[in-house]
Symmetry: C2
Subunit: 331 residues, 2 copies
Amino acid sequence: MRIAIDAMGGDHAPKEIVIGTEYAARNNSDINYVLYGEESEVRKYLTDDLSNIEIIHTNEKIEADDDPVRAVRRKKEASMVLAASDVKEGKADALFSCGNTGALVAAGLLVVGRFPNVDRPALMSTLPAFSGSRQEFEFLDLGANSDAKPVNILQHAILGTHYAKDIRQIENPTVGLLNIGTEENKGNDLNKKAYNLLRDEPSINFYGNVEARDLLNGLVDIIVTDGFTGNAVLKTMEGTTSTMKKVIADAILSGGLKTKLGGFLVKDAISQLGDSLDYDKVGGAILIGVKAPVLKSHGSSKREVVEYTLEKTKNILLSGVIDHMAEAFSE
Amino acid sequence: MRIAIDAMGGDHAPKEIVIGTEYAARNNSDINYVLYGEESEVRKYLTDDLSNIEIIHTNEKIEADDDPVRAVRRKKEASMVLAASDVKEGKADALFSCGNTGALVAAGLLVVGRFPNVDRPALMSTLPAFSGSRQEFEFLDLGANSDAKPVNILQHAILGTHYAKDIRQIENPTVGLLNIGTEENKGNDLNKKAYNLLRDEPSINFYGNVEARDLLNGLVDIIVTDGFTGNAVLKTMEGTTSTMKKVIADAILSGGLKTKLGGFLVKDAISQLGDSLDYDKVGGAILIGVKAPVLKSHGSSKREVVEYTLEKTKNILLSGVIDHMAEAFSE
């Protein structure tokens, strides 16, 4: 089993990518890790001479501000594109990058390729739920496909269901549709049509509409929405969380001695907050609907996140979920 | 000047509506307040015999779970519909309700009526901004029109600009488009087209795209988006805020003595948080694009909020903003 790693993507590449990869490789001698990037740079950060780490040299890379589709089409020798090509050709089984998200979506779609009957892949993250019996839920599409059709949302619901079954071991996962009301006839034209498709699909367990204010309340295992709304909602969560932390900090700073003392005492409780709602820090995102696992972590990822995401990539490969998705969407 | 008030709409109607109206009437002897509702019920809560309060009796009312358009069409004698009819006929100048939001939007659109060249009205709220030089911004559409066309977003930007000029005294208010990236070509088809219309419109001061994570950062005076996204984003803010308050409370409760003591000391600082992001509590919403001020406060509104929103209604009437909007959208 081989995992192709874009060693040059991310704010701390190649250093943190390489070190995180070595962490993962030490614990998984049966898995091969292939680092794509500037060989001398990559080699600098390898301390052991592990037989399950390989380097594929290239000078080219995709920058954070490159136009995604153009970069993937033109920079054939970029580390991310070479890695994706090797996945396509069966020389590797999965792709991991901390680089340009749009470019990774394009590389997944244009190079690795989608399942024949999946019209558009989706970006999916596992987000935390804070009440009820669920501690997590899958949320998609986070922005791979901003002009969704109803059938895209249906396909994403089926893909998410397979993921929740195989990776999170939920027998009959529930699917909710993000909407602006809970009743059946709520929402815009897209979501009214998506509702009907989801309701009539026998292979999923459809719960109904879920309002945005209940997103974090653990009502269902999977929440589907179009990529524009998903991205806007996710970034609203991040922005609201960071604003609130600032507001609390300001209120404490401008308070009296009593409040300042209190602030000092609850500092740790408050600082955990931001991270729990920052999807990048809770495990990155997976591009779902393509023929192999394509995983993404935040540009700011350090070695621990890289190692964690590579473990997750391994688990996805071992679970057989890609085969199950392929069967569901075979012709 | 006469303000028509739906005395029967809201969780605490008619009691809190009537008492709040009396508060407002005491301070504004030159303005007439007309309460629509069950006369004996309404009279019960009037303590003074003010000459500027009038009651129009009706037995019918719109319930919170009524289908909005059907209720407005069929319940001709409902307090909200009677009040709207009197605005349409020039017997009153503005409409206020704490009742069913969808029904109020329908009453505004179908009874009060829109400006000839405004295709769809929008729900707009003033939200708090937490950094930069701005303390507030206008956010629309919050859900009056969930299937928006690019031209609707343009019209809403022009309406919002008039509001910011006349009500908030901003000379040349900036308009941002909520989008999933800041570059010109970002977003779905709707927002790419809306961007071009906004950029080319001489009567507004277009800033460009604003990402959802920057919503609360005070980058612009007005943020426009379609009603589906606006509603989803607003409810995400509310849900995230309430989740975070719960998470902080839990972290403090489950912490050691030190953390518990700290929690006690910062309690006030934290409890202010929720309210500052709950748009209903910071002034309700206005239905913009119709021929008269139509204002809405939350169903849970108490007398202070009713009084506050009636003051706001008066200021809108006195500002001349409705005339300016009418001119901008005259044929």
